[in-house]
């Protein structure tokens, strides 16, 4: 290899596109050429410097937040252009809120999900239906308005045409899974959320399911839904430090006292050292004396000494609640 060839390889290296074979060839040349060796080392040092910048990977919580915001934005979007002749509205939140469903048993929820709940499966037709056309079946129609038309003696009816679909299968089916995830994050229908979370529970450790459960636990307005999400996440407490960190936030911030206690109990199931760390911190930082008491009791059950500050804290003001770190 000539020095010129080595230069070309160094440029490839600088572009981050050198193969193992390129590096071997460079090393062989550099062993006998001090000028190229120096350039090579300089190039490798540069790449090492570039690698010093490594932002943390996107957290599930940040992704869940982005998805929820997008979901809301899409609901406000007009229907997109559609390649086939007919139009659908995007994520019709209004339609979803209007929709009421009977409560299902969890087993039934796992087997059958009416797709109409999932994402606004409404045909937002404003078709000019000639009066002579056959009328759609009553169950498919929701009348929105009735008003006099411009010509005397005529009337105009604006209606939504409901197109309900259904899909059956195991909750592991990706399409059903996706619909269940959507249904679990629709605060308009708590009963449906509970059934969906129950159906998703066996898959709680999987990424999109975990994200949805964490989002429900920290953001759903209904405490029952938050509790169901907490229970579904409970088996992950031993292995997943992220789940423990979110539970600690629940202990500090959830407005529902029962849920705060449940989160303390769940944290106590963590590996002993970790449980001790969280309980110690929460026993001082929580503004809720019952939470602090519960933390101390849980620590005693684990044979861990509570911090001295916790004893005095049951009646006094808590330590400032800032500075809790994700572990």
């Amino acid at each position: 290899m000539t020095c010129q060839d080595a230069q070309a390889l160094l440029r490839t290296l600088s572009c981050g596109e050198a193969t193992a074979a390129d590096r071997t060839a460079l090393a062989a040349h550099a062993a006998g050429c001090s000028a190229c060796r120096q350039r090579w080392h300089s190039e490798e040092a540069w790449l090492a410097l570039v690698a010093q910048r490594r932002p943390a990977p996107v957290s599930d919580a940040a992704l869940a937040q982005a998805r929820q915001a997008l979901h809301r934005a899409l609901a406000a979007e007009p229907a997109p252009s559609v390649r086939r002749g007919w139009r659908w509205p995007a994520f019709s939140a209004r339609a979803l809120r209007a929709h009421r469903t009977p409560r299902w048993s969890p087993a039934w929820a796992a087997l059958l999900l009416i797709a109409g709940f999932g994402g606004g499966w409404w045909a937002h037709h404003a078709p000019s239906l000639a009066a002579g056309s056959p009328a759609p079946a009553a169950a498919q129609v929701r009348v929105q308005s009735v008003e006099p038309a411009s010509a005397p003696g005529q009337v105009r009816v604006v209606y939504d045409l409901v197109r309900q679909q259904q899909i059956s299968g195991p909750a592991t089916n990706p399409r059903l899974r996706h619909l269940l995830l959507l249904a679990a994050s629709q605060p308009a229908n708590a009963g449906m959320q509970l059934e969906s979370i129950a159906a998703l529970r066996p898959a709680a450790s999987q990424n999109p399911v975990r994200q949805t459960l964490l989002a429900a636990l920290t953001g759903d307005p209904n405490p029952g839904v938050r509790l169901e999400a907490l229970n579904a996440l409970r088996p992950l407490v031993t292995a997943n430090a992220g789940v423990r960190a979110v539970l600690a936030q629940v202990v500090l911030r959830d407005p529902n006292p029962g849920l705060r206690m449940q989160a303390v109990a769940a944290l106590a199931q963590a590996p002993r050292a970790d449980a001790g760390r969280w309980l110690r911190r929460l026993s001082v930082q929580s503004s809720d004396p019952y939470v602090r008491l519960n933390c101390v009791a849980a620590m005693q059950q684990l044979d861990l000494a509570p911090p001295a500050a916790a004893w005095g804290a049951f009646t006094a003001q808590p330590a400032p609640a800032s500075g809790i770190q994700h572990q």
Partner: protein
């Protein structure tokens, strides 16, 4: 079946699933669009977070990217990979953001409408398990690097990010930017030259840096 052919089969299945989802979304199925979003959005958010000044900006870039994709989906004709098409939208959205920011940076800070959005946490805060001295040093280096990256023009910045932090091939970067591999390479060289000049002092002391290269698996567990 060996692992390579198993991977090939998985890849083929994923492609088939993606194609079916795109067709369903184009026909107006919103759940299919959301399923598509879930397939690609982590990368889109990651890129935005690398380029944006604040988490809030990153979230806005993410949202704008997918809203544009949603509005333009009917124009997708399967002439390139869906990921390329989507990343092209993401790249343009990020470029627009960087251009706007470049303009704002020329205004005095008081005119920028500082909204108090929290800056992204320092990466050095987020690598538990590393030696504290190394963290301090690498945190300082990362901050210098960040400042130097801010000095690049938007296109150079984007190419550098896609190459060194997203690990994309120059050919793919060229596709995303609707240009040639050669042009992408030139942007990368210009970016590298500027950065090396800005960081010359660090680079002179750099041989020791090789020992600071991140070990795989030292990143914090995802929440």
């Amino acid at each position: 079946m060996d692992s390579t052919s198993a991977q090939d089969t998985d890849a083929a299945r994923l492609r088939a699933d993606t194609t079916a989802l795109i067709r369903a979304a184009q026909a107006g199925d919103p759940a299919a669009f959301e399923a598509l979003v879930c397939q690609f959005d982590r990368g889109v958010l990651q890129l935005a977070r690398r380029l944006a000044a604040t988490e809030q900006d990153a979230q806005e870039i993410y949202q704008e990217t997918f809203l544009k994709a949603y509005r333009a989906l009917h124009r997708f004709r399967f002439e390139c990979a869906f990921s390329t098409w989507l990343y092209r939208i993401a790249a343009n959205t990020n470029l627009d953001y960087l251009r706007r920011r470049a303009v704002r940076k020329e205004l005095p800070a008081s005119a920028c409408g500082e909204d108090g959005a929290a800056p992204l946490p320092d990466p050095a805060d987020r690598a538990p398990g590393a030696n504290p001295e190394q963290l301090l040093l690498s945190g300082e280096i990362a901050a210098r690097l960040e400042a130097a990256l801010d000095g690049l023009n938007p296109r150079e910045r984007l190419v550098f990010e896609l190459k060194h932090y997203e690990g994309m091939k120059l050919k793919a970067i060229g596709d995303i930017l609707a240009t040639s591999e050669e042009t992408a390479k030139n942007s990368l060289f210009r970016a590298t030259r500027k950065l090396r000049a800005a960081l010359a002092d660090l680079h002179a002391a750099a041989p020791a840096l090789a020992s600071l290269r991140p070990e795989p698996g030292t990143m914090p567990e995802e929440v």
